[in-house]
Point group: C2
Chain length 214, copies 2
């Protein structure tokens, strides 16, 4: 398809597509003559992913380029390709490992991973930003003196594991390896705000069920 | 307790506590003489909530003051007090109701609420920011051409409902009405980053289980 059609099918303006091409977020089309290039379904898919990251995830262009570099690195296995792409997404502040609450949160999350039997996650603790984000969140709870017990953490972790299984099952329905990796990254960006909204809505529903509107 | 002790027990510096007092985020202590005031457990609890909102939730001081106004409004029922407090938290951009994807997302979320039997949430669609956030998230998915089916949405909603039930059960363990409302608001701020981290970690675990590290 031509640029105009790519624009029409994606809902992204021609000027924005040209900007993405210049910034290297979209691979160049196949040049058919001096002024015309031909684009295909792969361009359309990539354009969706770029839109998801920039418009929904509000991720800076330089970070998007970095994420796409990992997505396209066929020399890596899928876990690492998806992982590296997710790890390039915006992250929360790093935990301060000198802090006593952070130190005890490391231990608490370690116990959690043991209880859950998340052997792979345990191997990734030194490199995974998700692990560090969890340590920061647990330390915040404890520092504020909330006595949330580890059982609650285990219960929430199991729910999130179920959500991840559902997401990955959906991923499997995409035919090519490239699509699987791309959809994994787009889902991370798109599913998180959805889960957050569903959680807030569920809290409203359950609060009203228990206490009514009076 | 005196200010120094409140500072020690909360881990918040005396200067910061004085700032919160000036800003009206913390009620004044009971004046025992011209230069000394006495603080109690209620001040400690309120200080935790303020810290959760400002430090973990990164919520502006003016918004914190607004949220606390709702938390303290005993004339409202608990559902509305908690709801009003949560609704004052930072929100995602509003949906553009002229947009065709937003219009179809309204219908899709309507169907979702019917399927789930969330009768209370259905009554809140005109005022709930969580509902609007969900509409925005669903519209983003559809606009990008992802064919996530409604069943997946239902499955994630059920998981989030389970998380909300767990959170509210925990809430019930707090004795007073004031504490219940305060902990509900603090949990919203603290649980969201935790769920997000658990979701990302679960994705890593499940991806590695399925595809290994090669």
């Amino acid at each position: 398809m031509r640029l105009a059609q790519l624009s029409e099918r994606s809902g992204v303006s021609a000027a924005t597509i040209k900007y993405y091409l210049r910034e290297g977020l979209l691979p160049p089309g196949r040049q058919v003559n001096a002024t015309t290039a031909e684009y295909d379904e792969e361009h359309l898919r990539r354009l969706r992913l770029v839109r998801a990251m920039i418009h929904v995830g509000r991720i800076p262009v330089a970070t998007v380029r970095e994420v796409l570099g990992h997505v396209d690195d066929g020399s890596l296995g899928r876990t690492i390709r998806v992982g590296a792409a997710l790890w390039a997404l915006p992250q929360v502040p790093e935990p301060d490992d000198e802090d006593e609450f952070v130190q005890s949160a490391h231990r608490e999350v370690g116990t959690l991973l043991d209880v859950l039997g998340w052997e792979n996650a345990k191997q990734l603790t030194t490199i995974s930003p998700a692990y560090r984000q969890l340590v920061v969140a647990v330390a915040a709870f404890r520092r504020l003196g909330y006595d949330w017990d580890t059982e609650l953490l285990v219960s929430h972790a199991k729910l999130m594991h179920q959500a991840a299984i559902t997401d990955l099952d959906f991923l499997e329905t995409h035919p090519s390896e490239e699509e699987k990796v791309e959809v994994a990254v787009a889902s991370a960006v798109l599913v998180e705000p959805m889960l957050q909204a569903l959680h807030r809505l569920a809290q409203e529903e359950e609060t009203a069920r228990r206490y009514g509107f009076e």
